[in-house]
């Protein structure tokens, strides 16, 4: 009884398959946001014990590279007014690699540097003693914009990464992409930063003038 109908062709037409797939494809193309977990890494200092007074660090003024940003996003770098951050990373590099008064350990490190980095050393007695002592200090105001702060931090990090990368003979982009998962990558990372710690001090922003 149920078989009364004459059999028609039972093939499913596949001609519109591409159209359906296209439709779905376009939907995913539009909704997709390829997750970007990229950014600038920063390690915060450990929390302060209220019972212990903050340690009194004696550091020579010449070993600190001061960057001040005020509430109007204006820059004061080592006591000089700067319009933009373009030359900042070069200044930072020159400061880190100054080698004013290197001790024996850092004199050795200096000798191991490639010639291009050696050329950056000014041996200026009023700048940093050696990379192990050099600290870059960034101080902002509570009214400074986050964008400006990140721009400054970006430039300082860039100076360090370029030094690291140049030491091991790769580009800064390649150096930053190192994950340290394999032994050879870890070795490259360690050789790059050995003896030159990324010492960036981010001071508590002050409240005045915001």
């Amino acid at each position: 009884m149920a078989r009364k109908k004459s059999r028609m062709s039972t093939e499913v037409s596949t001609g519109s398959m591409a159209d359906i797939a296209f439709l779905l494809l376009i939907f995913f193309l539009v909704t997709t946001t390829i997750a970007s977990d990229k950014g600038i890494l920063n390690i915060l200092p450990p929390k302060q014990d209220p019972n212990v007074p903050p340690p009194d660090i004696k550091k020579n003024e010449r070993n600190i590279f001061n960057i001040l940003v005020n509430a109007n996003d204006q820059l004061l770098v080592e006591g000089e007014y700067l319009d933009n951050t373009e030359s900042l990373s070069d200044d930072v590099k020159a400061f880190i690699l100054n080698f004013g008064i290197p001790d024996s350990e850092y004199a050795e490190l200096y000798n191991g540097l490639p010639a291009t980095l050696k050329a950056k050393s000014n041996k200026d007695p009023s700048s940093s003693d050696h990379p192990g002592e050099a600290v870059v200090s960034i101080k902002t105001n509570r009214g400074t914009s986050y964008e400006r702060y990140l721009e400054v931090l970006d430039q300082v990090k860039r100076a360090y990464f370029e030094i690291y990368a140049e030491r091991v003979g790769i580009t800064a982009d390649q150096y930053r992409a190192l994950t340290g998962k394999s032994a050879s990558e870890k070795d490259l990372q360690d050789r790059g930063k050995e003896g030159i710690p990324m010492a960036i001090s981010i001071a508590e922003p002050d409240k005045i003038g915001s």
């Binding site: 494809l25 995913f28 997709t32 990229k38 950014g39 600038i40 400074t144 964008e147 994950t179």
Partner: protein, 153 residues
């Protein structure tokens, strides 16, 4: 000079029978890579640009904090607020939130928690430094300033 006309005309037609397969392949690629946004953003998000970006390897260790001006100004005001998960929280709730996030991780990974701070570029340093202070209190010291890439010139 009939030299160039010697070839017999062959039938030129691109076979389209493999087209659905190619399209399906693309479709699957996008289906796999797509991350449908799980959270509704309650704050404005225009990430700042930077050049020295690093990528984090372990996604499971990352927790996100969104900072920015609330979208619904009439309800939440125009001052920058912090969004964690699906709600707006106050600065002093951060420690609690970090501890909740840490509980989701395994015992061994707890101290490796990384906070990815997605802050709007319009935010001032005041709220940012308050957040950093709370994160120090909560002992979540790995912080990432999420930003988008900038083309260097």
């Amino acid at each position: 000079m009939g030299k160039f006309k010697k070839k017999t005309k062959a039938e030129i037609s691109i076979p389209t029978s493999a087209l659905p397969d190619i399209i399906f392949m693309l479709l699957f690629f996008f289906m796999v890579t797509t991350v449908l946004r799980e959270q509704d953003l309650l704050v404005e998000q225009k990430l700042p640009q930077a050049t020295q970006l690093q990528k984090l390897e372990k996604k499971s260790l990352i927790s996100y904090l969104f900072v920015g001006k609330p979208k619904n100004v009439s309800l939440y005001g125009s001052e920058p607020r912090i969004q964690a998960n699906d709600v707006l929280i106050n600065t002093k709730d951060i420690v609690l939130w970090v501890n909740q996030e840490k509980d989701k991780l395994g015992e061994a990974e707890r101290d490796q928690i990384t906070i990815s701070m997605k802050a709007d570029r319009e935010v001032k340093m005041g709220p940012i430094s308050d957040i950093q202070f709370e994160l120090r209190e909560a002992d979540a010291r790995k912080l990432m300033y999420a930003s988008t890439g900038k083309v260097e010139n």
